[in-house]
Symmetry: C2
Subunit: 232 residues, 2 copies
DNA sequence: GCCATGCAGATTGTTGACAATCTACAAACG
DNA sequence: CGTTTGTAGATTGTCAACAATCTGCATGGC
């Protein structure tokens, strides 16, 4: 490893085609909100902006479509996917089940280092939470759950989970425009989850994570009810 | 509706680009076994065989890659995905959880017609089962579970389920080459599942479907053990 | 005999051009 | 005045050609 930066650059070029890079960039823009649900993605514009031809852009579109982040209408274009409340509700339902599996498996398989890492993440979240800074808390929360999915040791489970969470990000992006974000700071729950995992209590970890997910779902329903009063 | 065939043809042309058609054809070939796991897919050959240019073929590749049916190696080509026993084990684990959700929701939401349809499918499977014709039984079994996923009423759940089942088909294709298929004829279990759904017993339906999936997983483990003896 | 080096063919990655389709606006008709 | 038809511009779908990379084999050096 004489030139780590050079070798990593080589590795970057070796595995990443333009299609992959375009795909990542678009995924980033969508999840970060630069591209809002319903926005149209113009092939030519994106191609010239990213300094590539339309081919890689189109290939990236097909991948993003399959990933559920955009929807394609023939001869009309591709649009950032809009996730309705009904869909979000369905997704939450599945996510709750996956979260329970993640909790169970994580409790069974987590190593001491992994538990330590999770504890560290919870601690960081608690620090941020004191400032009531939702904007800073949100990504930490996402990464915590993401890491939890990895700790489950089941790659298929983690990949399936991430896919659904991405779609829920989409829904959040959609509703975010209508009003301020009321994201919950639930560090206590997180701490309890990590403790259950630490003790190897699969049943409890699964139950806690399921409930944690269900609360998100219930919050969605509460928001629907409130929006229903205000908007119409 | 004066010319239903014509209007359906129009609808076909309206929504299906060449990319979509190529994608479907390749998916069919992979799931039916015409393309075996590990096989390389040559862009130019496929393009000329399907009478299209390489563009749509490449776009179909990106979608199939994201769908988990092929894997892409930059500058080397795309290959039909190989699902190892470890991966299959992971997938089964997730599938068992999804199946439980499907059972629960189906029991809660299934209409009388849907239950009737499921009963009909079980009956057909029983008829085929008497002939011990595994080749004929297998697709019926797949369609039964597929329909069950729809009956759950949760499209996200059904889509997630199908994706995993496709990957398991891949694993089956891979192991099928090594020896005869020992697919189980479990019409009794299917009948019990439908009955639980019919009675609206969500708990039981979920439990039965989970066990049903777990048996597939256990069969995989048994096969591994046996293969381990024979092969090495 | 064995390994490194360097072509030659094949295959993938990317691009720009052409064809088909859609959208918006304006003119013509009832 | 409203509806319809037609046309121009923009956008997507498809294609064929060019560039970059890989694979296999032969040649040469040790």
């Amino acid at each position: 490893m004489a030139t780590p930066s050079a070798s990593s650059a080589i590795e970057l070029l070796r595995s990443h085609s333009l299609t992959t890079l375009v795909r990542r960039e678009l995924e980033r823009r969508i999840l970060v909100g630069e591209l809002a649900p319903g926005d149209k993605l113009n092939e030519a514009d994106l191609a010239s902006e990213l300094k590539v031809s339309r081919g890689p852009v189109r290939e990236a579109f097909r991948a993003l479509d399959q990933a559920g982040l955009v929807r394609t209408e023939k001869n009309r274009g591709v649009f950032v996917r809009q996730v309705s409340v009904e869909e979000a509700d369905e997704i939450y339902e599945v996510r709750a089940g996956l979260d329970e599996m993640i909790g169970r498996l994580a409790a069974e398989r987590a190593t001491a280092e992994e538990v330590g890492e999770l504890r560290e993440m919870v601690k960081r979240m608690q620090q941020v939470a004191r400032g009531k800074d939702v904007a800073a808390y949100y990504p930490l929360n996402v990464r915590f759950h993401d890491r939890l999915a990895d700790v489950s040791g089941n790659r298929t489970l983690a990949a399936t989970y991430r896919r659904l969470v991405n779609e829920l990000h989409l829904h959040r992006r959609e509703t975010l425009a209508r009003g301020p974000d009321s994201f919950p700071i639930s560090t206590r729950e997180h701490a309890a989850i990590v403790e259950a995992i630490s003790r190897g209590d699969a049943e409890l970890a699964g139950q806690l994570l399921r409930e944690h997910a269900m609360e998100s779902r219930d919050r969605l329903h509460a928001t629907i009810a409130k929006k229903g009063q205000v908007t119409k």
